[in-house]
């Protein structure tokens, strides 16, 4: 096993050791999945048949179940990804191990990103299981363009890393409490980014306008196009959906790095690594 793989395994092992017993965690995860799928069914019945305009948008993506499933799974991946970076820092700090990390001479950014990878991978597995259940129970038809899917995933990873590092910067500098970055993300995404329903159903022009400025609106649309509509990289409507998300990722990556380093600098100045 190479050094990099060995360290990655040890980073994952440290996360697993902190979890509740595996069987209980497994049961809880399955319970969550079944509940989630049940919620999709309920939503498709209630919302899916709401209006002709809504139905036409759902049909574009192969129906309401697929639309919602991809929306929820993508949103969950983005949220978990962002939160896991901050959580990696907060956990290490509360256990007092962050000080040792800092003395190893390793660059903190790659180390923190690798430390949060385990949780992100678990979230990916969760999303895949949800899709499998949907295919089995609701015959949801996925029409994936692998190239576009990989591009959206890559852009999403950069965006998530940027936002997550910005939040982690706050925590490394000594902030306690709820993560304001993921809170703001969840607040805007849940209501106006179109996780469950297309933004076209908003009759209010202001909500429509605001949703255009919410980055996750575009991430969800691009992901749906790649996964449900088989939109290729040459598809102009897919590119129009992807571009704002790409701009957000390109802006957030350096902002996140800067914020994390500013947090580290503050930690070294204020003695956040010092144990009493």
């Amino acid at each position: 096993m190479s050094n990099a793989l060995f360290l990655q395994w040890m980073l994952l092992r440290r996360v697993l050791s902190g979890h509740t017993p595996f069987r209980l965690t497994g049961l809880m995860t399955i319970g969550n999945l079944v509940l989630g799928v049940g919620a999709f069914y309920f939503m498709t019945v209630v919302v899916g048949t709401g209006s002709a305009r809504t139905k036409s948008v759902y049909d574009l993506y192969g129906g309401p179940a697929g639309f919602m499933a991809v929306g929820v799974a993508t949103n969950q991946l983005l949220t978990v990804g962002m939160a896991s970076i901050q959580r990696a820092i907060a956990d290490e700090r509360s256990q007092g191990t962050l000080a040792y990390w800092a003395t190893t001479g390793r660059h903190m950014v790659p180390l923190v990103l690798r430390a949060s990878l385990g949780e992100f991978v678990l979230a990916c597995c969760n999303a895949v299981l949800t899709f499998v259940l949907l295919v089995v129970l609701f015959q949801v038809h996925f029409n994936i363009d692998v190239g576009s899917f990989l591009v959206v995933m890559a852009v999403s990873l950069v965006a998530v890393a940027g936002v997550g590092l910005a939040a982690a910067g706050l925590f490394v500098a000594g902030y306690h409490g709820q993560n304001p970055v993921t809170w703001a993300w969840g607040l805007t995404t849940t209501f106006i980014a179109g996780v469950y329903v297309p933004i076209q159903v908003f009759d209010n022009w202001l909500l429509q306008l605001i949703s255009q400025f919410v980055p996750s609106t575009h991430a969800l649309l691009a992901m749906r196009s790649a996964v449900l509509r088989h939109a290729s990289l040459g598809d102009s409507s897919f590119l129009n959906q992807l571009l704002p998300w790409l701009v957000f990722a390109v802006v957030m990556a350096p902002v996140g790095l800067w914020a994390f380093h500013a947090g580290l600098r503050r930690a070294y100045l204020r003695g956040q690594f010092v144990q009493s």
Partner: protein, 377 residues
């Protein structure tokens, strides 16, 4: 255990590798740190020069100064003991030398050149003096393997080195299989020391390595530290344990209220004891006795703090009879009386008591001046 000198050679610039005989802090202290011609010593492994640390306070309030002009040095292969009561600022100094806290002002040098925090993190290894810093549910050996992986060791070497350091600090394989949270406080001290030994760094900082240990384990740790010292490893020993400092240190600094108030070799510190201490703990107000104690024939000095009185006498065998006579005549209640053997512990207590005495006298003077000034208005 590989020789620490080899690691030093890898870290220090080539021109300075040839330095073998390090004169140690006694040489550094020949020139006062505040002198304008003070220069860092190119032969000294680590020199901290006039370190100050201020923490900001809420708007409008002046910053809180926790470290005031602290200078100390550790020579190659030397052991410097940093002693002081809790809250004296020892941990702040440790954090700075470990590269985890930036000083507000002051500089740290290695072999005569200023060193940044990032380089300090590669020069030092810290055995922390607290109970956390490990993953509570992971067995100790798995914790060590994880930290070894963080240091860049591959799987085989990480496991081998982890078992090696466990053995070095005297922990059994069974203790190694125990989750960190279930270990005793003493075993956690050993665990921290084991982790610090995972890598060879020029300076080992051991923060309270014997705190909470039973006598047998304490002796094992002292033996281990002695063995490490004999291998040429430089050490900063941060401790309350005067016996450990006496056994190990080439140089001792005593800290109080963010300052180093005494710094000398253990032998020179013992010379401070020009008088022997008679310790009295009163069960009642010592006030009436104090006036008469101050008139003792061989009295050198006297410090009192609440119901504790320290009488320093140049002829304690004569004076102790006088002291007992005064107590009886005044009808005072004494719960404890002692004439301790002179040693580093005595020096430590004397230096701290003197400092407290001076601070109290200064406070009294300031209060009097304030009252006088109020009366004047």
């Amino acid at each position: 255990m590989s020789h620490p000198q080899a690691v030093t050679e890898a870290v220090a610039p080539k021109t300075e590798v040839m330095v073998i005989a390090d004169p140690g802090p006694e040489h550094d202290h020949l020139i006062p740190v505040e002198a304008p011609d003070w220069k860092p010593n190119p032969h000294t492994l680590i020199q901290a020069h006039r370190l100050v640390k201020d923490y900001p306070r809420p708007r409008g309030q002046p910053p809180r100064r926790v470290l005031k002009d602290v200078s100390l040095s550790v020579g190659q292969g030397r052991v410097h003991a940093l002693m002081g009561l809790s809250g004296a600022g020892k941990s702040t100094v440790v954090a700075m030398l470990a590269g985890l806290l930036e000083p507000t002002s002051g500089e740290i040098y290695t072999h005569g050149r200023p060193v940044e925090a990032t380089e300090l993190r590669r020069l030092t290894s810290v055995a922390a003096g607290h109970d956390n810093g490990f993953y509570p549910r992971l067995p100790l050996i798995e914790n060590l393997v994880f930290f070894a992986a963080l240091l860049g060791l591959d799987r085989k070497r990480a496991r081998h080195r982890s078992r090696e350091v466990l053995d070095l600090v005297g922990l059994t394989a069974a203790a190694g299989r125990t989750p960190w949270a279930a270990l005793s406080s003493g075993q956690k001290r050993q665990g921290h020391l084991a982790r610090a030994l995972l890598r060879h760094r020029p300076l080992l900082i051991a923060d309270e390595p014997t705190r909470g240990l039973d006598p047998a384990t304490e002796q094992r740790i002292v033996d281990l530290l002695t063995h490490i010292k004999a291998s040429g490893q430089s050490m900063l020993l941060v401790t309350h344990d005067v016996h450990l400092a006496s056994a190990m240190a080439d140089w001792v600094s005593i800290m109080e209220a963010g300052q180093i108030i005494r710094s000398a070799s253990p032998g020179d510190l013992l010379h401070l004891l020009t008088a022997t201490r008679i310790y009295l703990r009163f069960g009642s107000d010592p006030g009436p006795c104090l006036e008469r104690l101050e008139k003792l024939a061989h009295l050198k000095e006297i410090h009192s703090h609440d119901r504790e009185v320290h009488v320093y006498s140049t002829d304690p065998e004569t004076d102790i009879n006088e002291v007992v006579k005064i107590i009886v005549e005044e009808g005072a209640v004494v719960s404890h009386i002692d004439l301790p053997e002179p040693g580093l512990e005595e020096v430590f207590l004397k230096v701290i008591a003197e400092r407290k005495h001076h601070m109290q006298a200064r406070l009294r003077k300031l209060r009097k001046e304030a009252l006088r000034s109020q009366a004047g208005h």
